[in-house]
Amino acid sequence: MKSSEKRHLKKLLDQIKPQEPAANFEQLIHQDWQRTIAYDESIHRLSEVLTVARLNPKLLTFLVIVAITGSVLLGQHLMSPQDDDLHRIDTLSELSLSTI
C-alpha cells in the first residue's frame, strides 16, 4: 500500500516543472570536477612526498643538510660580488675626493 502511495505521489510531483537551470549548468559542474580532481592530485602528491620522507628519515636528513649547505653557499656567492662592488665604489669616491 505504502509503495503504491509513494509511487502515485511521485508521479504527481514529477509533473511540477522546475524553472530551467542555466544553459551552461552541466559545463559548470564539469569544471568543478576538473578543479576537484586537480586539487586532489596535488594533495595526493604532497602526501606521497611526506610518506616517503617519513619512511626514509636518513634520506630526509641528507636532503635537509644538502639544502642548508646549498643555501649557505649560494648566499656567500651572492654576497661576495656585492662586497667587491662596495670596495670599488669606496675607491672611486676616495679618488674623486683626492682630485678635488
Binding site: M1, K2, S4, E5, K6, H8, L9, K10, K11, L12, L13, Q15, I16, K17, P18, Q19, E20, P21, A22, F25, E26, L28, I29, H30, D32, W33, Q34, T36, I37, D40, E41
Partner: protein
C-alpha cells in the same frame, strides 16, 4: 536497499570510480545522468533557481570527494538524492528561523494511507500551487519520502525529529495536498 550491490549498482560504482580517477568521459556521463533530476528535486525543495543550482553543484563536489563511501548497496540516484536533500535542508535551516519554529499541529491522529492514484488530471501549475500551501517542513519531508527510499526514522534523523512526529508530519502534508488538489479541481470545474 539490498545487502549486496546489484549489477546495475556495480556498474554505477565503477563509473564513479573512473570519474574520480580522472576520466573525463565518465564524469560527463555521471553529470548527464544525475544533474537534471537532482536539480529538479533541489528546485522543488528550495523554489529558487540559483539556490537549487548551488546546492546541486555543491552536491557534486561532495560526490567526487566522498566517492569511496558509495558502496553500491543503493542506486547512485538514491545516494546522490540524499546528498542533495541534506544540502537543501541545511540551506533552509540557515535561511529560515521559521523552519524550527513553525508549528505543525503534531498532536496525535490516526494515520491512514492517502491515495493520489485517483487524483484527476490537474495541470502542473495547479500542483505547484497546491505544494505552496505546505509548510517548509511538510514539503521537505514529503519530497524526501517520495524521491528517496527514506523511512520516517531516516527523515527524522535528517530533520531532527522523532519517527512519530515525521509520520504525523507526512500524513498531514499528504492530506493537506490532496484536499488542496481536490479543491482546485472543484474550482476548475465550476469555471467550466
Amino acid at each position: 536497499m539490498s545487502l549486496f550491490p546489484s549489477k546495475q549498482h556495480r556498474i554505477e560504482q565503477a563509473l564513479l570510480k573512473r570519474a574520480v580517477a580522472g576520466n573525463s568521459q565518465a564524469s560527463k556521463e555521471i553529470i548527464r545522468l544525475l544533474s537534471s533530476p537532482a536539480y529538479s528535486l533541489a528546485w522543488k525543495m528550495l523554489r529558487n533557481k540559483e539556490d537549487a543550482e548551488d546546492a546541486v553543484q555543491e552536491a557534486f563536489i561532495r560526490l567526487w570527494k566522498n566517492a569511496e563511501s558509495f558502496s553500491g548497496k543503493s542506486a547512485l540516484f538514491t545516494y546522490f538524492y540524499a546528498i542533495v536533500s541534506n544540502l537543501c535542508l541545511d540551506r533552509l535551516k540557515k535561511g529560515s528561523k521559521q523552519f524550527f519554529e513553525e508549528f505543525d499541529e503534531l498532536e496525535h491522529c490516526s494515520i491512514e494511507s492517502v491515495d493520489f492514484e485517483i487524483m484527476p488530471s490537474i495541470n502542473p501549475e495547479g500542483i505547484k500551487k497546491a505544494m505552496d500551501i505546505l509548510s517548509i517542513k511538510q514539503r521537505m519531508a514529503m519530497l524526501m519520502w517520495a524521491y528517496q527510499d527514506m523511512t520516517a526514522e531516516q527523515i527524522g534523523l535528517s530533520m531532527g525529529m522523532n519517527k512519530n512526529s515525521v509520520d504525523q508530519l507526512l500524513y498531514r502534508a499528504k492530506l493537506k495536498l490532496k484536499l488542496e488538489l481536490e479543491k482546485r479541481k472543484g474550482e476548475s470545474h465550476e469555471i467550466k
